[in-house]
Amino acid sequence: MNKFASAEELTRYQGELKRKTNGALKTISLCGGTGCKACGCNEIHTKLVEELNLREIRADIKVTGCQGFCEMAPLIVIRPDDTLYIQVKPRDIPEIVEKSIAGNEIVDRLVYHDSDGKPIPKESDVPFYKAQLRLVSKKTPYIDPMEIDDYIALGGYSALAKVLTSMSPEEVISEVKKSGLRGRGGGGFPTGRKWESCRKAEGERKFVICNADEGDPGAFMDCALLEGNPHQVLEGMLIGAYAIGSSEGFIYVRHEYPRAVQTFSNALFQAGEYGLLGKNILGTDFSFEVAINRGGGAFVCGESTALMASLEGRVGEPRAKYIHTVEHGLFNLPSNLNNVETWATVPAIIDMGVEEFTKIGNEKNKGTKMFSLVGKIKNTGLIEVPLGATLRQVVFDIGGGIAKEKAFKAIQTGGPSGGLLPEGMLDLPVDFDKLWEAGSMMGSGGMIVMDEDNCVVNISRYFLNFLKDESCGKCLPCREGIRYMMEILEKIEKGEGTMEDLETLEEIAHTVADTSICGLGKSAPNPVLSSLTYFKDEYIAHIKDKKCPGGICKALINYYILEDKCNGCGVCAKVCTMNAITGKKDQVHRIDLDLCEKCGACLESCPTEAIVRR
């Protein structure tokens, strides 16, 4: 492959690829995201190849990045019909090949069924997808992440070509400013303004950095983008570098994402081969190189200044940002850091034009945002919605509501340092400002749904424990304050808390938020503060009534056997590891509360639902 010497060559090549792929061949898009991999997509792939060879059927198999519907993994989509098969097992493959690939039938038992039991074969009709608006993750299901041609065939790199041939850096910045794009890493700072400051900053060299140190528990948007469509992220970085006037870029990927490193380094190699990276890109004067740097596993390195310190080879600790990194960042030179999703949004803006882009979202929040929807929800998965969509739409329309028909209790947005929002806030539009006002935050896009069986005290303690371990320990309030907050929550969990403790807790929370150096500390009290605002009664239940409404805090619960329901089958006595359950066969059993470890195994094992937790 020769390097593209001009934008025209790229366009010509795009045309060639499109003609090639417009053939009559069916495409089997097999989701190779982490969820699907874990559920056996590799075996399915082997089986699929085997079966097609056996029957001598020609079809195009693409193992793509995460397609989003992780709850139903592994996923297979047959195109051009867009038939979606869920929870496919290797033994289903012969049937799928025979009916759907060789023929044009649909295997009914493998398609999605709605709550009424009606089959919905077409991917785009499935409510999970229907309620979404995919902009940034649009191309992922059609692309083999290791193949640059797949991306180019879908119009990839034409945004870069457009920018390099017809726009000045200032025009690019002005477009991004007009688009109203805000940092998807959680800060929500206007991207265009950031680029502009970095362009204006004085410095011999300037750096473009992609923050892929996604550390929020349960969040995997950046991972999915890098593993599913690395070229789109790279294209965004290229456009940003051109606008800022930088020729050196870094991507900081956390160590736990080896596949992202693999796909991205492959993308760098392929882009280099095509002349889309390196010297004189597309025959212009613009040159750009990207180096991959792997993080060592510190959550705090997702903070921009800590990330830069880590990139420099120092300990990843944040510093005060009174002097901005766009002026003095990496190696004290102007540096522009954006999150993976922000970079990936940029080519989409250039492709569709600012006018179209700004139609999405609300007044101050334009475009879409990806979320990882997890917790006690029916449809766990990776989603993308326009900013301003309500939490209710996310939880019920896309997420399908609470699993096991339990009652909704709270939704945690923004990862460990986000806030817990109650049912009353479900109509809150999901955007940077509204979430902030409600005491939570956008964060990088983690959404954890909790049901009636969760305890907010326990959840808050869990997040504080995470943050305590991940605090770098540099500044006093974060290092000590989080620990003391946690100690108070532990006391409350044990039923030893007092009402004064709640006051102290709130006091510490405000000081930690007020006086910490970086975002980690400043936002660490969010779970505590928001739960104190919306779920204070639950705290009081722990303190005054010595009860845990969620039935989680072991010190405050006990397991009992209901005499009228127990049939004396003895299953519970068998599963009890503490030998706390006694009783003769066919007679009512009893739990010895002194021996009971409150593990809940008996409750889950009881066939007659005779065991209750109070």
């Binding site: 510190a298 705090v300 300990v315 510093r319 005060a320 009174y322 002097i323 305590k468 371990d469 991940e470 605090s471 770098c472 320990g473 540099k474 500044c475 006093l476 309030p477 290092r479 000590e480 304050g481 989080i482 620990r483 003391y484 100690e487 102290t504 006091e507 510490i508 000081t511 007020d514 006086t515 910490s516 150096i517």
Partner: protein, 601 residues
């Protein structure tokens, strides 16, 4: 920590005006807020700030509330750059409450640390609502780590772990061989968590000559002329790591240049006064006194340093374990008047010992024991001083000390040593426990005096001090014309005698300069060119180095100005090529004839 810092404005930096606590102030744009506040005597507490280091902003004590463009927020004064029109409040309710809670958190972990206790007291933090832990000395301010890495450049300290487990350590928790023992970490530590320990060749402690760590920059001694400090390259951080450089930063006259080197300067001079001074006798070989073995034993010169207000203890007389001594022994004639070492009397030791007695009595009130052979207090006012010290309740014991020991069969109090001395006046042997023993060491010729003797062609007397030409008629001149001696180079003497002799030597030199010309010896030797074979025998015998060889002609040449007419070369020349004016064969025979003529008559 609260030293005032002067802000020097760069000429092209714009000035901004803003408000601190309602007071309008002006400062260079983007100066760190804490500097401006200190300049205006506005107290902002801090535990991790040091003006020579990049601000770190971790103790959060220096939080203030800043309103900028209508937005209020809490920032740290140590690293917040001031801009036009900001409004700063350093002590409003929100700030005070936050500081209080931060101090409460600190007190839960560092309740015994003085700086924290004082601050907590100042802010009225008396109850701790958190689980108190055993008090830790290290408050994790990071000053030591930063000074070692950013300033010293030794990289011997770092943080390990994170969150509440964070602690200061050496890299990989192993003993660090990159530590240069500069003590910078020890100096900046606000809680005395870091201690200096003796390390071989790194930090010098009490017992060795310098009595405590010397700073790399020092003036040799208080009375040194000129009183210009110099940098000891061996202990200076900059010369070891290329870091630091604080001294050049703070020097207002820009007088510090690290590239300056020692140099040898050649000066053409017609006269030389040798004032090479003396060296103190080293008592290490006198094993019985325990010098170098017992930390309580020191020489008179070391005591002088200890007692000096500019010394390591600030002039306080302290024992090695830091106590004020209760009893001190002064042992006279160490290395003087001793057939085994130096037979001569060093002349100054008696008066010096009396001075020490007086100082010790005055400063500490300790019992002083003077163990002397006999007191030699000649000189103006000296006898009177002796009488005065006698009246100051100093114990005078006539007798030589036989031993200083830290062993006694009856046991000794902690930190004391025993001196054994025969009191010849009472006729008994005494054993006295003391806290400090001062060996009044004698005076010896300076190291290198032997070299100087060779170079200058001057002689020494049997005691190895330089020999004057004549003890009464030419007490400052030497056998070599133009070379003079003064002070202890000539022999042991005290300051008044040294000054008098130095004046005399200066006068002798001035006399020669005033004359403007040098009188040469009339009788010198001369080489007869045609007879000289160039064998160089004369070169080696000439005591004045007056003969050189003319390599071109291959013959010896005598410098008339250097030749003293001693005749050695004349006698030594194997070919009879050197003659001495006035002493050639005919002249000597004529002289003999003249003498014999009378007899013949």
């Amino acid at each position: 920590m609260n030293e005032k810092t002067e802000i020097i404005a760069e000429p092209d930096v714009k000035m901004v005006t803003f408000t601190i606590d309602g007071k309008e102030v002006t400062a260079p744009d983007r100066t760190f807020l804490i500097k401006v506040a200190r300049e205006h005597n506005i107290e902002i507490p801090t535990l991790c700030y040091n003006e020579h280091l990049e601000p770190y902003g971790v103790c959060r004590m220096c939080i203030v509330e800043v309103t900028r463009n209508g937005r209020r927020r809490i920032v740290t004064a140590c690293n917040y750059p001031v801009t036009e029109g900001i409004v700063v409040e350093t002590r409003n309710e929100r700030i005070i409450n936050n500081r209080k809670l931060l101090l409460e958190m600190m007190m839960a972990r560092h309740s015994e640390v003085e700086v924290i206790r004082n601050l907590a007291k100042e802010y009225g933090v008396d109850t701790i609502r958190f689980k108190e832990q055993p008090s830790e000395e290290c408050i994790l301010c990071g000053l030591c780590v930063r000074v070692c890495n950013d300033l010293v450049g030794a990289h011997a300290l770092c943080f390990a772990q994170r969150g509440p487990e964070r602690y200061v350590t050496t890299p990989y928790d192993v003993e660090s061989d990159t530590c240069i023992g500069c003590g910078a970490c020890y100096h900046v530590c606000p809680t005395n968590h870091i201690k200096m320990e003796q390390m071989d060749g790194l930090s010098v402690v009490y017992g060795d000559v310098s009595l405590g760590p010397d700073k790399p920059i020092h003036i040799d001694f208080m009375q040194a002329v000129p009183a210009t400090p110099w940098i000891d390259q061996k202990s200076c951080i900059h010369f070891q790591t290329d870091g630091c450089g604080i001294c050049s930063e703070v020097c207002p006259t820009d007088a510090i240049h690290y590239d300056m080197k020692d140099e040898i300067v050649e000066v053409e001079a017609g006269n030389i006064i040798v004032t090479s001074g003396f060296k103190g006798f080293d008592p290490s070989p006198m094993y019985q006194f325990g010098y170098g073995r017992l930390p309580q034993v020191m020489t008179s010169i070391e005591f002088e340093k200890l007692s000096n207000a500019g010394g390591s203890t600030g002039g306080k007389l302290l024992t090695p374990d830091g106590r004020t001594p209760e009893a001190v022994a002064i042992v006279h004639c160490i290395g003087s008047r001793d057939k085994n070492y130096n037979e001569y009397c060093s002349r100054i030791c008696c008066m010096q010992s009396l001075k020490f007695s007086h100082l010790i009595r005055e400063k500490t009130g300790a019992e002083v024991y003077q163990c002397y052979i006999d007191m030699r207090c000649f000189g103006k006012g000296y006898e009177e001083f002796y009488s005065r010290v006698l009246s100051e309740d100093v114990h005078f014991i006539r007798g030589k000390v036989s031993e200083v020991t830290d062993f006694s069969p009856d046991g000794l109090p902690e930190g004391k040593v025993l001196i054994k001395v025969e009191d010849t006046l009472l006729g008994i042997v005494r054993e006295i426990p003391v806290d400090m023993v001062i060996l009044s060491v004698g005076i010896e010729p300076q190291v290198g005096a032997q070299d100087l003797k060779q170079k200058l062609r001057i002689s020494v007397s049997p005691d190895s001090f330089f020999l004057e030409r004549h003890p009464k008629l030419a007490p400052v001149a030497t056998a070599t014309e133009g070379v003079f001696i003064a002070g202890c180079a000539q022999g042991p003497k005290d300051i008044p005698d040294t000054v008098a002799q130095a004046n005399a030597a200066a006068a002798a030199v001035l006399q020669a300069i005033a004359q403007g010309e040098v009188m040469l010896e009339p009788i010198t030797a001369e080489v007869m060119e045609e007879q000289c074979t160039g064998c160089e025998t004369c070169l080696s015998v000439c005591p004045y180095e007056a003969i050189t060889k003319d390599e071109e002609k291959g013959i010896a040449v005598i410098n008339d100005a250097l030749c003293k007419g001693c005749g050695t070369c004349v006698a030594a020349c194997p070919s009879g090529a050197i003659k001495q004016w006035g002493f050639d064969r005919e002249q000597i025979i004529a002289e003999i004839d003249a003498v014999l003529a009378d007899i013949a008559v």
